[in-house]
């Protein structure tokens, strides 16, 4: 069930979408400048430290995890990128139906706005209003996948246990609820905080939007991982087998900086579509 997109509105939305596509097809210039989709960063194979013994209970215990090499996208998926996927969905949908994986509208937040108009207005903003299922479908369409929680943390934290992607100093290198970052109560285009990049050069891993990961959430999953790690580091963990919530990481424009740390874990129902959750992509190297 798509909670933010009930079927009773589908008629209006499909008409609106039809009109939008029609206008597009008859020659209106649509100014989406597509973000380079090939921005993938290779994270080399190896062991890193996951979790924290000094922060929230669900971050305990700090433990070693081994990950195979993988790629992760340098930026979160943007409106312009997602639009290409959505447009294809639209073409496959009959006029009376709402295309699958349509992002939610945020009419009350003009700085984010309605879909698909916001893809034109803010092409380089991270796409929001997408459920975990939407994110997963987009990733599959791109021949990729969502990062696991461990992959996400390694890409953000590096091997030096950074509190924030850029290091341990409290800096305004991310779009958070604080107002001194230059983006007051709104999203920032991806890559707006070059000083906030992670050790591996991955951008925007703190703030702006939370990011869906592939894993189900469990507050004690690290204990299982670390118990196994007593013999050797856990290899490529993929989270619990079942759950209700999917893990989101990184904090967002509505969160204080403390919730944007590289180890902070949060969770959301996978079919929720909010203005503060987006995603990035990952890919195995083989």
């Amino acid at each position: 069930m798509n909670i933010f997109y009930p079927s009773r509105n589908s008629h209006f939305r499909s008409v609106a979408c039809g009109l939008f596509l029609l206008l597009f097809s008859i020659g209106m210039r649509f100014g989406v400048s597509a973000q380079d989709t090939e921005h993938l960063i290779l994270i080399s194979a190896g062991t890193f430290t996951m979790g924290s013994d000094t922060r929230a209970a669900d971050e305990k215990p700090m433990h070693k995890v081994y990950l195979n090499a993988y790629y992760i996208s340098k930026y979160e998926v943007t409106n312009a990128e997602y639009y290409e996927f959505w447009k294809q969905q639209l073409e496959m949908t009959s006029p009376e139906q709402t295309p699958q994986h349509t992002p939610e509208n945020f009419t009350h937040l003009p700085q984010i706005g309605d879909w698909p108009a916001r893809a034109e207005q803010f092409p380089n903003h991270p796409v929001v209003g997408v459920s975990w299922h939407d994110a997963n479908a987009y990733a599959a369409w791109k021949g990729m996948r969502l990062p696991t929680e461990a992959e996400w943390e390694k890409a953000a934290r590096g091997y030096t246990n950074r509190t924030w992607p850029w290091g341990n100093a409290l800096e305004s290198y991310a779009n958070t609820a604080a107002n001194e970052d230059g983006y007051e109560n709104c999203l920032a285009p991806v890559g707006s905080f070059p000083k906030g990049k992670s050790y591996y050069g991955v951008m925007d891993m703190a703030g702006n939007v939370w990011e869906w990961t592939a894993d189900w959430y469990s507050d004690v999953y690290y204990w299982h991982t670390s118990q196994a790690a007593m013999k050797r580091p856990k290899q490529n963990p993929t989270g619990p087998a079942v759950g209700s919530w999917r893990v989101i990481r990184g904090g967002s424009w509505i969160d204080p900086i403390a919730r944007c740390s590289t180890t902070f874990r949060f969770y959301l129902y996978p079919n929720l579509k909010t203005s503060f959750v987006g995603f990035r992509l990952a890919k195995s190297t083989f």
Partner: protein, 388 residues
Amino acid sequence: MRNYLTLVILLILCLPSFGIINEKSDDHSTYVQHVEQAFILMFQGDNLGAISAFEAALAIEPDHHEILHYLGMAHAQEEFWNKATESYQRSLALMPDNIEALYSLGVAYFRLDRWTDAVPSLQRVIELSPQHARGHEMLGKSLVKRRRYAEAIPILTKALSLTPHAAGLYYELGTAHLNLKAYPEAIENFKLAIAYGPTGYAEPHHGLGTAYFRSGDREKSRVEMQIYQRLQKEFAEYERLTRLTRAEPNNLEAWTELATLLMNQKNFAKAVSVFQKCIELAPNNAHFYHGLSRAFMSLNYPKHAAEAARKAVQLMPNQAILYNTLGSTYAMQGESQKALSAFRKAVELDSDEPYYHLNLSRLYQGMGNQKLAQEHHRIYEHLLSKQK
């Protein structure tokens, strides 16, 4: 031209229904707005605000099991357990096998002392998610409350395998074994509860005392019961002072007593915030800065400790103990020269306190000055023997 024609036809076809549809669309926009607002408020800890916003959203679109679950969670945060139960039940009516909603319902029943009702929800949780640690824990606790001790033991043991060193689980296991007259197992689990539990965790001492008593060891039982009574008294005092400071937030005497109690209980993290409150009320009182410094030192934050000690010295420059504390904070940071200067000042102001000489002796030793280290150690021993 054909496209324009299609557009016009589409618009004509849609015009009659636009009024109704727009209204519904507006409703949905309002729903989205309420949900977004609710999340922001919940993240900020404003649960009452979040409850209002979730309820407003559900008044527009009532059939969202996730939002009903979040509403219940917001109620639970405020300990409105009956309302939380109602929300969870509505959520589960829409999505019966939702693991987290079932768990939440079990917790709410437990909090309402409806342990019999809690059991089926929690049993379903562990059926659906066999690695669900909290599910096992709450089910084990509910079974203990229902006096189903033999059933509780394997559930609590499994919970412990999922969350090792959880003091509360050892306590529950101890209780189950005690009631099954398995005293050696009860004693072992109560001891583990004390070992892994927070400072001032009283209940396992009572359990241990009872287990010793029933197994015939009266002396050990007496000792444990005394500890239990002392901790209970301290807890009662803590509760009293917490209530008093909540009711009278400007009552400096109450805050001071609370700070002292927390330091005695070695609850340094809470002591820090209480000393900070004392300083807010009496910004020129050196003793509060001194207490704050000692709390920070115990938490191994020497920089913060030094800052507070410097402020204390500034306010009362003739108090030897303040220099001694300042010296200790410098020594913790490896700033030997600054520590030396502070310890010397302490001795200069009060040369009869043996521990100031001991600190100076240890510092000299660390700096490689054996002669002065021995000299101050001799003075320390001499003063100590005089005190005795």
